[in-house]
Symmetry: C2
Subunit: 232 residues, 2 copies
Amino acid sequence: MTSRPPRPRERGIPEATVARLPVYLRALQALQDRGTLTVSSEHLASIAGVNSAKLRKDLSHLGSYGTRGVGYEVEYLVYQISRELGLTQDWSVAIVGIGNLGRALANYGGFGTRGFRIAGLLDADPAVVGKTVASLDVRHIDNLEDVVRSKGVSIGVIATPSTSAQGVASRFVEAGVTSILNFAPVVLNVPEGVDVRKVDLSIELQILAFHAQRRADGDSGRGVDRAGLELT
Amino acid sequence: MTSRPPRPRERGIPEATVARLPVYLRALQALQDRGTLTVSSEHLASIAGVNSAKLRKDLSHLGSYGTRGVGYEVEYLVYQISRELGLTQDWSVAIVGIGNLGRALANYGGFGTRGFRIAGLLDADPAVVGKTVASLDVRHIDNLEDVVRSKGVSIGVIATPSTSAQGVASRFVEAGVTSILNFAPVVLNVPEGVDVRKVDLSIELQILAFHAQRRADGDSGRGVDRAGLELT
DNA sequence: ACGTGCTTGTGAAAGCGCGCACAAAGTGGG
DNA sequence: CCCACTTTGTGCGCGCTTTCACAAGCACGT
Ligand SMILES: NC(=O)c1ccc[n+]([C@@H]2O[C@H](COP(=O)([O-])OP(=O)(O)OC[C@H]3O[C@@H](n4cnc5c(N)ncnc54)[C@H](O)[C@@H]3O)[C@@H](O)[C@H]2O)c1
Ligand SMILES: NC(=O)c1ccc[n+]([C@@H]2O[C@H](COP(=O)([O-])OP(=O)(O)OC[C@H]3O[C@@H](n4cnc5c(N)ncnc54)[C@H](O)[C@@H]3O)[C@@H](O)[C@H]2O)c1
């Protein structure tokens, strides 16, 4: 537990930028589908819903891929962002907890499109194990290590009730999975070096409720005009 | 389009704090269920997975509800956070797009527990309209305005394909809904004063892939020990 | 009544992220 | 060849966020 030096900016792209690159990528692919060859930061920014200076600064972290006076070559930029995000390789995903949400995720076509392949579905309920969901058969959770190793799973998705989530996370980690996407409303405890992201619908609703209440508090009679909302 | 003054900190709780209050609330309710009466910032922080100083500063925005030398009274804090987040009143939610995801959301029990009531389900597909999902019958999207008005819907959830999402959002806005939770992978365009939050699974996976790739780049042969990961 | 020990609440410092504004660099027309 | 125009890449200032560190405050035992 040596006290780390104040982050020597390893070789790095800022987190905030990383979180926006997928948005840019999607916008660029939409342009590509429409046959657009080049795009200005202004135009791309408006599609992606961000400030154009921010977009340029974000892209500058990947290198200088634009041409002054012209803009960015769409195809080249798509490739560069894909490469930076690691989408030029395939990622195997395992989903644990094939209930309401797990089934929806398994049936969702949007993952396969961009380098993510669902390699395994796991559940603990005998009534679910053995069933076929999205042309994969649901295996018993005890096979987790097998599935991870044989399919080369590197991303684990947790869609179990929150009581089971920590246990599943630990098993993922033991099996060597270092990237976890968690839908259960609990804080997961994992060793350093394991990356956990959470998706929590209740939190999103509560944040919306907070802002809605604040708006209602201020608006007495008079019309809106309340500004300063942050649109994520 | 008057240029706004540099944000006079209306009367406000920082955004970052608002996003964490629901996490604290959940931790507190777990303590409450276990019969715990008071909790220190250190303890609560470790449950919630944050730094204790941050927790104290967050809570200080709500007022001084702690007792030095003792900690915080769990029940009182639950109430204060609930009130601040607007959970002491009921919020009606309408879900549009009753497909894989919409059905999972409708069947999810976790919403009702905390002030959110699903008041209406809407879809455009004649094969879905009229069906009963989660003991609500699915109405046709043309009834959106009706449903919003008659049920007092204040939060709209969009779970349609991305091609329809903007249209649905606009109809929500026209009907007077100013809080929207969007699952479709598109940037929504809404007038000022409307609050949009998005949940985008593909983006989460891509961020995980980015970090996983970076870890793999550094680790040549030798075991892990890569530090500096930010766990959200 | 008073000291001991624990915990809160917050000032101060450092790090990040955002957006303005502009120089640098390229394009294209004359 | 030069000039007008467009657009990138970035220096800079500002405000938000996080974390440290500690004085102030409270409980409890004696
Ligand atoms: N459904 C939603 O829309 C929704 C919304 C927000 C959050 N969530 C969260 O997502 C999670 C799943 O929700 P759901 O509605 O799909 O629940 P669900 O009850 O329908 O499904 C949970 C599944 O997990 C399985 N399971 C339980 N313990 C397990 C274990 N130890 N190992 C493997 N599988 C196990 C169960 O057999 C079941 O099939 C929950 O934590 C829930 O809070 C769901
Ligand atoms: N299923 C998932 O796990 C998942 C994951 C990530 C993102 N998403 C996104 O969530 C959205 C929904 O996904 P899904 O898998 O449920 O899709 P789906 O095709 O199963 O369901 C979409 C539903 O929306 C309805 N619909 C279409 N146009 C409509 C309109 N104009 N008005 C009302 N209803 C309309 C359709 O009839 C259908 O029932 C998509 O945008 C998808 O990209 C889904």
